[in-house]
């Protein structure tokens, strides 16, 4: 009959009491498991969002730097933010609605749409929509009458897709789900050979070449969408095109873009004579301001954006991002403080529960303890017996609590931790996994820590009761009522 066996029997002797105590302790342990898991997830979400944002800003900055000699002109609808297509070989099309327009901007709209930050990146929740078509003759005006212009690329871009209603952050949005975007560009050797007008990442077949007609370069996404490969004929808006190549995604923005000859695009979209934007390449990047001023003077109806302006906008975005990062960090800090306070309360509560239960047990079993002393048990073996009982009780509860906590961590941490303000998306609890990339989950490290804590708290709580038990005199065995 070992000491462990006796401890187990003593605990199971009073089933209701033991169950109640175990439930109470298990609840504490579940909280002890959930809170760190919540904090870890908050931290991870913040880090992920921060990395995502800063990567995008960095990429965008790079693209802008590479395209400083470019000026984008369009007849844009009024547009509140600034949109950009992150790395489409320098294409910058405000009217296109940036991120949202093709649901493929630099940012995942699932994370940023509709939030404060989302507003920075697109006109509406998902971008500003299509640009107004303009007469292609503008091309000749700008190409011929403004000095410093090296080349002008007229572009017709049109998207096909469906509308989808989404609920996010308690608001409902209708967003355009783009199936594919047609981009028509003039396939002249001057443009193709000297300027970044096509995808630089052809993964199958060949790229478009000068003089191509009746052919398309699909994106991998397009290829899957249409179910066609190189050499196949694809039907676009009812007209057949031969797929000559497939391009990989070089940026999120060209994920859905298929390239074809400008005149083919104009014909198939019924826009003959029209384009949606002009991209002007200046002879040198220091001519950009001069050229853009000239364009604006010549055609005040055009929205003209230079690489320099885009850099300024990016700077302002960077500072917005920095502020958001600071506030997110402060918010995380607040959460950690609260978590620490709660853990202290739970730890105190757990050891107090063990303390009171074990004190009661010792008091109740005074005679039994006296008997053990009388028949030759040492103080230390009596103390060990009660310490073990307390630890065992706590460990059983710990196992139950860890199991509960592992399952209920998202709910519990959402209840116990304050809302985290991550980059302006307020009121979103990480635990509910709305705006986060990290799910609250209990890892092995937390489980081991919690298990260790249950052993330690059991021992801590039963230390005094066990000491009291050891001090009981053998004469107690001979008190008869």
């Amino acid at each position: 009959m070992g000491i462990i066996n006796r401890a187990i029997r003593n605990i199971s002797r009073r089933k209701i009491r033991a169950s109640l105590v175990i439930i109470a302790l298990a609840f504490s342990m579940a909280i002890l498991v959930s809170i760190p898991a919540g904090v870890v997830a908050n931290q991870k979400s913040a880090n992920d969002l921060a990395n995502n944002l800063s990567n995008t800003i960095g990429q965008t900055g790079e693209t802008i730097n590479q395209t400083l000699n470019q000026i984008d002109c369009s007849l844009a609808p009024s547009f509140s933010g600034f949109g950009f297509r992150a790395a489409d070989a320098g294409t910058f099309t405000p009217g296109q609605g940036g991120i949202g327009g093709t649901r493929s901007g630099g940012f995942d709209p699932n994370q940023f749409g509709g939030g404060t930050v989302g507003g920075q990146f697109g006109g509406g929740p998902f971008g500003g929509g299509e640009a107004s078509p303009m007469n292609q003759t503008l091309y000749n005006d700008i190409n011929n009458s403004i000095s410093g212009v090296a080349a002008v690329e007229p572009i017709l871009q049109a998207s096909e897709g469906s509308n989808e209603t989404v609920s996010m952050f308690g608001r409902t949005f209708t967003r355009q789900l783009t199936s594919y975007t047609i981009e028509g560009i003039p396939l002249t050797s001057d443009l193709i050979d000297n300027y970044p007008v096509l995808s630089t990442n052809v993964t199958a077949g060949r790229n478009l070449k000068a003089g191509d007609s009746g052919v398309v370069l699909l994106s991998e996404n397009n290829s899957a969408y249409f179910g066609v490969g190189v050499g196949d004929t694809v039907s676009i808006l009812g007209q057949g095109f031969t797929v000559v190549g497939i391009h990989g995604t070089s940026s999120a923005s060209d994920r859905l873009v298929l390239y074809m000859n400008l005149s083919d695009a104009q014909a198939v979209t019924n826009n003959t004579g029209y384009i949606t934007s002009l991209r002007v390449f200046t002879q040198t990047s220091d001519l950009v301001t001069q050229v853009s001023t000239a364009i604006s003077t010549l055609h005040p109806e055009l929205t003209v954006t230079t690489g320099q302006e885009r850099l300024t906008q990016l700077d302002s975005l960077q500072s917005t991002y920095n502020t958001a990062l600071e506030s997110a960090q402060a918010s995380i800090g607040q959460t950690q403080t609260t978590a620490l306070e709660e853990i202290i309360v739970v730890v105190a509560a757990t050891s107090l529960i063990v303390l009171f239960v074990m004190l009661y047990t010792v008091r109740e079993r005074t005679k039994e303890i006296g008997t053990l002393k009388a028949i030759g048990f040492s103080n230390s073996s009596v103390m060990g017996q009660f310490l073990l009982e307390g630890v065992l009780l706590s460990v059983i509860a710990g196992a139950v609590g860890i199991a509960i906590g592992t399952l209920a961590a998202p709910t519990l941490s959402a209840l116990l931790l304050p809302s985290v303000n991550l980059f302006g998306v307020t009121g979103v609890r990480v635990a509910s996994n709305v705006a986060s990339t990290a799910v609250v989950s209990v890892n092995l490290e937390i489980v081991l820590l919690a298990f260790g804590a249950s052993v330690a708290l059991g021992a801590l709580g039963s230390l005094y009761p066990a000491w009291r038990a050891a001090k009981i005199r053998p004469a107690e065995a001979m008190k008869y009522e």
Partner: protein, 269 residues
Amino acid sequence: MSKPVLQIENLSKNYMLGKREVSALKNLNLTVNAGEFVAIMGPSGSGKTTLLNVIGCIDKPTSGQVLLDGIDVGKMPENQLYKIRRDKMGFVFQTFNLLPYLNARENVELPMEGKGKSKAEQRKRASELLAMVGLSGREGHRPQRLSAGEQQRVAIARALANNPAFILADEPTGNLDSQNKAEIIKLLANLNLSQGTTIIMVTHDSQAANHTERMLLLKDGKIVKEKAGLHLAKKNNKCPNCGSSVQRTDEVCPSCKKPIFQTEELFST
């Protein structure tokens, strides 16, 4: 003939009762030899419980000497006294004091813990002892499934576990009906006869005491009277009723035809 297992010389024990000092035991002398079956009697307040506590190493003497199996326990610290209690004496309590969540065998094994015996040895010893007290076959029963008499038998087996110098019994029949009382006294007497177990029984039950071999009467902290009990005659192979020779195994005296162990006297109360 036998060596003493308990030697008490000039034992005094004083208590502070509020601001008044009360003398519970006054220069008490007592020697119990191995193999004796002794009853210590006395009315309440006579110092019985104090004497029991001193012999049981629960209380320390104010003055005088207490030798248990030749060991002076009077000045011994608690971290050694538990070993004396474990190895030199076996406690039997009025209320049996079995652990309710252990079965009979496990209760008997308890004092053997910490003696370095293997589980198998403990188990074997416990089974033997339970057989000795007439409980073979009930080893797996928990106390609540045993009668009061059976519980006290388990307690006696437990007291014998470590082969102690003597059994120290505190009113062992106090919580028993007359039939069980007779059986427990008979069991103790038989253990004393057959195993040579030394028994010191503290009781205020004169009938139970009368069945020991030596009765000591305690009054005001002193032993004031000592007389032979019925058990002495039996030990000397004499019928306690008529004095003629009997065999140890005899239940009834061949001469006077009366039961040698006069349990009917216990029954009649």
